[in-house]
């Protein structure tokens, strides 16, 4: 109950904070929106050149894939690892440590409110692009039902994974190379540069076990019906396993990180 009230207050606080920086938020959202659209255009051009379909996708299903991915990626991404070094250096973290609550809770509400706000841009963009580009969605009821838990698991798992990755900032002052490596891995394996079935078979088989694919493309492909119910089920089991693993990792890394932390600023 107490935690619930803290979450509510902190969500309101962060919502107001995002609204103060609304111009910046709009710019960031726009750049998140553009990336899937560019890759959609590329793959549509490929399908067009190959007489209508490539790798089992038609122009219409490719459009549907990337439109869904655009929204799902927005809902599961975090920017924490680009901010953590700054927080340590500028003493933001030193202040946060004074609260009788794990700082991760603050990030949960900050992230969730940002996502909520982002939907104000993403839903109209989704509808507008749908009108012009004519995606082929074929919804079966079970796909929509299974989509929601896969999405929730994806968001929770990815949040903890990226929070754990962000903790490297305690050990290294300059984390940009590390973040860039993580970024390249996600781009490849989460289905953002191409649906994973476009990769060589052995690579896509491996990718289906990695948290990158499970954190973005699994909900997308569940919704679009390119997975069988069994594949969705096993995907959810692997998601849950990674979720447990990253929860443990966050707890373990955090306990060591705080011990290393020499407060800066104030």
């Amino acid at each position: 109950m107490r935690l619930f009230r803290i979450y509510l207050l902190s969500a309101l606080l962060h919502l107001k904070e995002h609204l103060i920086y609304r111009a910046s938020v709009l710019i960031w959202l726009f750049s998140m929106l553009l990336e899937p659209v560019v890759f959609m255009m590329v793959w549509r051009a490929v399908a067009l050149a190959e007489g209508g379909s490539a790798g089992g996708y038609t122009q219409g299903t490719l459009t549907a894939y990337y439109l869904a991915l655009m929204v799902v990626n927005h809902l599961t991404f975090t920017w924490i690892m680009h901010e953590y070094a700054y927080r340590i250096r500028e003493g933001v973290l030193a202040g946060q440590l004074l609260y009788p609550l794990h700082p991760i809770h603050r990030d949960v509400t900050m992230n969730a409110t940002y996502k909520l706000l982002g939907l104000v841009l993403f839903i109209p963009a989704f509808l507008l692009l749908s009108v012009f580009l004519k995606p082929e969605f074929q919804f079966e009821p079970w796909q929509v039902l299974a989509f929601l838990p896969t999405l929730a698991l994806a968001a929770a798992m990815r949040f903890l994974m990226e929070w754990a990755v962000a903790q490297t900032a305690f050990w290294y002052i300059e984390t940009s190379s590390f973040n860039q490596a993580y970024y390249v891995a996600t781009m490849f394996f989460s289905g953002r540069i191409a649906p994973i079935s476009m990769f060589p078979d052995w690579l896509s088989a491996v990718a289906r076990y990695l948290p990158f694919w499970l954190g973005v493309a699994l909900p997308v492909e569940t919704l679009l019906g390119s997975l069988t119910p069994e594949e969705v089920m096993s995907g959810m089991v692997i998601q849950a396993a990674w979720l447990a693993f990253f929860a443990g990792l966050v707890a373990w890394v955090w306990s060591r990180a705080v011990r290393r932390f020499g407060a800066v600023g104030g």
Partner: protein, 261 residues
């Protein structure tokens, strides 16, 4: 001559400054290498499913990525740091000193900073262009090569002018650091040839946000895809954007009233 000396002095100061932070060189190397891995990887995946993207082959696209990183290196070498310093100056009032210099303020802002490690991107770009030309059995006439340098220069001026158009808004809005995120996200479109995009978007990426155009043109020239009929654009588009950025800058300067002093 005088101008060359001024540029030389600023470049030297910039190099001396960056040489203090030699570890950044390693960081830049890693970041560039990862960037290329991603770019080349995406091209390889695309070409598992097709032989031609528009009328671009795989080697043509690697050449395009080469030009892309040359342009990106150019931006990070002095355009981005220069404009960032200028914006900081607007906020702190240090821009006053820019106006006091006996040199055109727009010119001074664009040559003032120099980040030598960004040469990594630029040189790898050159390497990729040469390598893909060699692998693709490119036989370029002297005319093509001259044309390549002309289009490359056109691309540089368009991108520089576009950065200035974005950056000049700082005269009114003061804190607009995030405006460069707009450029970075639009610049992603330049990783692929213009022919990938549907007609209306292509026109947008040529005449409104000419970033993809600036990269496609030089690569198309070298790959022998440039239609001579569209050559007039090579002069017109940069001329237009440079003129607009110049006028905008002049209006902005008049609006500037100093922040501290």
């Amino acid at each position: 001559m005088y101008l060359a000396r001024v540029i030389g002095v600023h470049a030297r100061i910039g190099i001396l400054k960056d040489l203090q932070y030699r570890v950044n060189f390693a960081g830049q190397l890693v970041n560039s290498a990862l960037g290329f891995l991603l770019a080349i990887g995406s091209i390889l995946v695309v070409f598992r499913h097709t032989d031609l993207l528009g009328d671009w082959t795989q080697t043509d696209l690697i050449m395009l990525i080469g030009v892309f990183s040359i342009v990106r290196g150019f931006i990070n070498l002095f355009v981005r740091p220069g404009l960032q310093a200028y914006m900081e100056g607007i906020r702190t009032g240090l821009f006053d000193y820019v106006l006091l210099k006996p040199l055109d303020s727009q010119l001074y802002v664009s040559i003032r900073e120099f980040r030598i490690w960004s040469l990594v991107d630029l040189l790898t770009g050159v390497g990729l262009v040469v390598w893909s030309g060699w692998v693709g059995g490119l036989e370029a006439s002297l005319f093509t090569i001259v044309l390549f340098f002309v289009t490359m220069l056109a691309g540089f001026s368009v991108v520089l002018a576009f950065w200035f158009i974005l950056g000049t808004s700082a005269f009114w809005f003061i804190k607009v650091d995030n405006i460069f995120v707009v450029f970075d996200s639009l610049f992603q479109t330049a990783r692929w040839p213009l022919t990938v995009y549907p007609g209306a978007v292509r026109i947008l990426l040529t005449f409104v946000v000419p970033v993809a155009w600036a990269v496609t043109m030089p690569a198309a020239t070298l790959a022998g895809k440039l239609e001579i009929g569209s050559l007039w654009l090579t002069l017109l588009v940069p001329a237009f954007f440079v003129a607009v950025s110049r006028i905008f800058w002049k209006i902005g300067i008049r609006h500037y009233s100093g922040a501290s002093a």
